[in-house]
């Protein structure tokens, strides 16, 4: 019942879509980190209205599964985009909005609140004595930030960023619901051709597992190599 040859073919077929999935996940990670920086800054400086909005958004995300959020965006984003586009006076039909963009926007928004927490935490983890030492040596604010704080905060953040990357990769598996073809959707398509569902899903699981192990190994090694002893 379990066909090894078919599994191998599936494995290769699914691997073919892996670069797309990784690219999606990297895009999501970069976007959510940028957004996370913005959110962290807003929370740090307690900018009125925006802080409350972010609090509301976090509450929404705490209670709402990503699938539901994805469907909401799938139906709401084209309409919202159309409004913005027409206000800007650009002639573009938002109904042609690619589902890939909707997936990326949804997952990035979801991850951005996690990223902001990671960024805040890693900056707070930098010892204040380091900043005082830099000041006493005559470093300017930007020099302190660039040479002293940021490198140390980055080291703290890497393990958590690796974790976020895994979350992003896992989240792209929801893409098949809105016709984005990632490794999971590819497996479903290939399985539907010869009804070897078990083989297909096991191979996908294997690939996800492999990626997960690689990311963990990378994060561990980075921590061991770079950690300031």
């Amino acid at each position: 019942m379990f066909d090894l040859k078919a599994s191998y073919d599936m494995f290769l077929g699914i691997l073919g879509v892996l670069p797309t999935t990784l690219l999606l996940a990297i895009t999501i990670l970069v976007l959510s980190t940028l957004l996370g920086v913005v959110i962290a800054l807003i929370q740090q400086y307690k900018i009125p209205v925006l802080v409350q909005l972010i609090g509301l958004f976090k509450l929404f995300l705490r209670g709402t599964p990503m699938v539901v959020f994805l469907y909401l965006m799938y139906y709401a984003l084209p309409a919202m985009g159309q409004l913005i586009v027409s206000l800007l006076g650009i002639d573009y039909n938002m109904n042609n909005l690619s589902p890939v963009i909707i997936l990326v926007v949804t997952v990035s928004l979801t991850l951005s609140t996690f990223q902001s927490e990671i960024i805040r935490g890693s900056f707070l983890a930098v010892d204040y004595g380091q900043i005082e030492a830099a000041h006493s040596l005559g470093y300017s604010f930007f020099q302190t930030f660039k040479r002293i704080i940021a490198p140390q905060a980055f080291v703290h953040a890497v393990p958590d960023f690796a974790n976020s990357f895994t979350v992003a990769i896992k989240a792209t598996s929801l893409g098949f619901l809105i016709t984005v073809i990632d490794i999971f959707a590819q497996a479903k398509i290939m399985a539907a051709q010869n009804f070897r569902f078990i083989e297909a899903f096991l191979m996908v699981a294997l690939i996800y597992w492999g990626i997960g192990i690689l990311i963990t190994k990378f994060a561990d090694r980075y921590e061991n190599d770079v950690r300031i002893k």
Partner: protein, 223 residues
């Protein structure tokens, strides 16, 4: 239109018990299995502990959706092999088993650090006072582990509730499935509104779980 919305809300309320049953059953299964996993990983039994570690890394790096599909297609194929061909596996069973196992991988990673966070001197003190291992665990260790583990467990519970929103993918007509049917019947109108209702239903479940765990936290806090 008005009538339609009322009918929809009624359908949602009818489908909600399915979600709740699956959440409760998989939370129970997950808790049981996570405790077992944690014991196996802490005891350091050769081979078995490594297998438990491997399992946890698997459950944590594979999306819940895929475990759901593996359980849905895999369990009916495995059962005849162990002589249980007459047992009928419904999508509900597949959902409970896969979600339970997925959940167990997450919370086992909460329980293990919580157990390890207990100072070694606590073990030594209990031993020196002549506590038996069982007594030591239930009287000394567990009451200290629980407050440490509860916040993480609460998060795990919320994620479990989130993940059960995927079960409609294997054909279970829960609230998500109901929404899909309703949208296809009404030619795709009001989708945003419908998914907002679903979001609020899931939020209600998550916040209930959150407040229950917080209540437990207050009761078990070490004063």
């Amino acid at each position: 239109m008005e009538m339609n919305m009322q009918a929809l809300l009624l359908e949602f309320l009818k489908a909600l018990p399915i979600n709740i049953i699956i959440i409760i059953m998989s939370a129970a299964l997950g808790l049981l299995f996570a405790v077992l996993l944690t014991i196996l990983r802490i005891k350091k039994i050769p081979v078995i502990s490594q297998m438990a570690d491997l399992y946890v890394s698997f459950a944590r790096s594979v999306p819940g959706l895929i475990l759901l599909f593996i359980a849905y297609f895999g369990i009916p194929k495995i059962l005849p092999l162990i002589g249980l061909s007459s047992v009928d596996v419904s999508p509900m069973h597949a959902a409970i088993i896969s979600m339970g196992f997925y959940h167990s991988g997450y919370i086992s990673e909460v329980f293990r650090p919580a157990y390890l966070s207990i100072d070694k001197s606590q073990h030594d003190a209990a031993d020196s006072l002549g506590y038996t291992p069982t007594k030591k665990f239930f009287r000394i260790i567990l009451p200290q582990v629980i407050p440490v583990a509860l916040p993480g467990y609460g998060n795990g519970l919320v994620y479990l509730i989130h993940d059960t929103s995927l079960i409609f993918a294997i054909g279970i007509v829960d609230i998500m499935g109901t929404a899909e049917l309703f949208i296809s019947r009404s030619d795709g109108t009001n989708q945003i509104f419908i998914y907002f209702i679903i979001a609020s239903m899931f939020s209600a479940m998550c916040f209930t779980a959150d407040s229950l765990v917080r209540k437990l936290e207050r009761r078990t806090a070490i004063r």
